[in-house]
């Protein structure tokens, strides 16, 4: 056994050395490597997968149109399973591969870790979908394409209270998820500003996505509260289960549901039993008649055989924004990553740069890295 161990350890060391030297070749001179990480496998892989596919379409479009300044774009996304350490591993790997710019990571926790790691090297991060403010607060190299959690929480509260005038709102959110807690906290703050009292004007029940799959109890509590609207700042899988569970109660059958951009994709999860109106805040409407959206949706369906969601659209926009900003700032693709980074940050916050894409027209960015664009509230058909 001892000898087996020795041989194994030797083999390990050897593999290491080979690994060290084999990949030292460097990247092709005429490509710009866009890095990113996301949940490509596992429980949340639909999000990472959508980002990868959306971004890939943008890269192919850019390359087909001749690339940028004689360079072609290359996208490399690495699995991070929504974890911080995994995102850092992915970052290190991409760094070693010669990444020039990045689309950060897909989910908030890993995007924060990714952006923190990128800060010291000065690698630009433009996350398509990580909505927590912590992500862009890491540094002035970190930007996002999607709405932030606070923005959406406020929009939701205003919509439910000011616009529609609901008097009793039931909320169910996920305490184990950054996105969900971020949305809920912003919502609660806004409700306090609107002088609404927790317990009488609205009630809150929680679950943890890693420990709950059954929402019967929470829905029963909402029914007992007698709410006339339900706010679900969560992802669509759980939201669909809650909506279906609510549909089994006569009292909740027709109570409208409002969600945030995480609800994108819920349409495929609902069945005929759900008759209530389900709406969500999103910058991207798949049924939009605008030419660029229709073209993207067609290309996505054609290539992957399914409908794009908001993650895919955000990722497409992220790559396009990188491209447009490079053009606007006349960035030299051969320059060091940190120079590209500061040039891009200057362009985005410069005040003159505006981008119109799938997820909004005339997007601009604040110094903090947050995007300014218009929100739509989409109704699920």
């Amino acid at each position: 056994m001892k000898s087996a161990c020795k041989i194994l350890s030797l083999a390990l060391a050897l593999v290491f050395c080979l690994g060290c030297f084999a990949a030292c070749g460097g990247t092709d001179d005429k490509t710009i490597l866009i890095g990113g990480s996301g949940p490509l496998t596992g429980a949340n892989s639909q999000y990472g997968d959508a980002v990868l596919k959306g971004a890939q379409i943008a890269v192919e479009e850019i390359n087909a149109a001749g690339g940028y300044a004689g360079y072609t774009f290359k996208l490399q996304m690495i699995q991070d399973d929504c974890g911080a350490v995994e995102a850092e591993n992915a970052y290190n790997q991409l760094f070693d591969l010669g990444m020039k710019v990045s689309i950060g990571s897909v989910t908030s926790g890993s995007a924060k870790a990714f952006a923190t790691a990128a800060k010291d090297d000065g690698i630009f991060c433009l996350t398509p979908s990580a909505s927590a403010d912590d992500v862009i607060a890491v540094g002035n190299h970190s930007f996002r394409v999607c709405f932030g959690d606070p923005q959406q929480g406020v929009i939701a509260a205003d919509e439910l209270v000011t616009e529609k005038g609901f008097a009793k709102i039931g909320v169910i959110y996920d305490t184990s998820d950054t996105y969900s807690t971020g949305l809920y906290q912003a919502f609660e703050e806004r409700m306090t500003e609107l002088e609404k009292v927790k317990g009488t004007d609205y009630v809150v029940y929680t679950f943890t996505s890693e420990n709950n799959t059954d929402f019967t109890q929470q829905v029963t509590e909402l029914k007992n509260f007698g709410c006339d609207a339900i706010f679900l700042p969560i992802y669509y899988g759980e939201a669909a289960l809650i909506a279906k569970s609510a549909a089994t109660h006569p009292e909740l059958k027709d109570v409208p549901v409002l969600g945030c951009d995480g609800l994108d994709g819920i349409a495929g999860q609902l069945d005929s039993s759900v008759t209530a109106e389900v709406r969500y805040i999103t910058p991207f409407d798949i049924n939009s008649t605008e030419a660029n959206v229709a073209a993207f949706v067609a290309a996505y369906r054609d290539k992957y055989g399914k409908d794009p969601n908001q993650f895919a659209a955000d990722a497409y926009d992220a790559v396009k924004i990188l491209y447009e900003a490079m053009k606007a700032g006349e960035v030299d693709p051969a320059a060091a990553a940190s120079e590209i980074c500061s040039a891009l940050a200057e362009v985005l916050t410069g005040g003159t740069f505006k981008y119109s894409g799938l997820t909004g027209d005339n997007m601009t960015w604040t110094e903090g890295g947050s995007v300014e664009k218009e929100a739509k509230i989409v109704k699920v058909q």
Binding site: K2, N92, T116, E210
Partner: protein, 375 residues
Amino acid sequence: MKKIRLKHYINYLILGGALALFVALDLLGALKRSDASLLTQIGYSIILAVSLNLVVGFLGELSLGHAGFMCVGAYVGGVLYNMLIPACGTVAALLIALPVGGVVAAFFGFLIGLPALRLKGDYLAIVTLAFGEIIRTVILNQDFFGGPMGLPSQRFGDRLYILAFALAIVTVFVSQNLRRSKHGRAIQAIRDNEIAARAMGVNVTYYKLVVFAIAAFFAGVAGVLYASSTSLVQSTNFSFNYSIEILVMVVLGGMGSITGSMISAALLTFITVKLTVGLPSELAAIEPLVYALILILAVMWNNAPFLRPLRVKLHDKIAALRDRILPHKEVDGSDAAATAAWDTIPTKIPMDALLSTDFTVDHSFDADRPEKEEK
């Protein structure tokens, strides 16, 4: 004069040699950043596996909550970094965090050791599992610990792997010396037959608590290392699955074998990380499949009774090969006798007793080689 025997130093040689090799590569500039961070992860995986081996291999109790202790260490480390770094700088913070994280985790290890006095086998296993999950759930819901986003921590650059390997050597040192001391023999006596050990006057209570506390201490140290290697300590990392992964390292390495734990920890971490970052995104989906297959096949190869002749054959071949390469290896009688005497102390583990309360398969009449040989 006491003879220096390679067998007692092989673990240090492997770890020290690997460390020297990588430092040399690093100085030559050939160590890439992804490799350096992988090495740190391998370092703390080794600490985790070797310390869990104390509980599972030496004491003979199944623990499914090792990641819970690591979680304690990691959060203590993160909190201390946030408090201490502004006051006294990073190095001092690290030096304070390592022992404090370990001691806090050891305290929890002591707590978990208490039910171990009353429970055995599966029941204890599920209590350790429950403990790990309780710790994680409580931490997840405290805003003080950063909630679901995680606790911001301090990253200590690319050279952290040197510290990780140094601490791994310390862990191996403690573990190996504990095993060779009179205390170690008492612990193994408890493992082999608790009632008999008690009858011989071994203080079972004391030793069980000590082993749980020591193992938890090192898991806590590994946790602090973890906190030093990442910018965000997230409780999701320390789930039940991670405890299982550590257990897998120990079992694949051969329960009770420190060298085995070390090597399988290094290999498994290497495989997991390399599969994750190395596979192109289209193939990322097969990563868990490959991992599962490796796991099943490795366990089969190591343990399946029907493969035993094959293993023996391979073992003999390797031995023959070794003798050909190193013909002058001192295999004189006295040494062999000493080795044999040494080997009889850590006898075979009554693993059946570990998981089942009553059912034991007795292999003592097997005409085959004794278990020890193939581990």
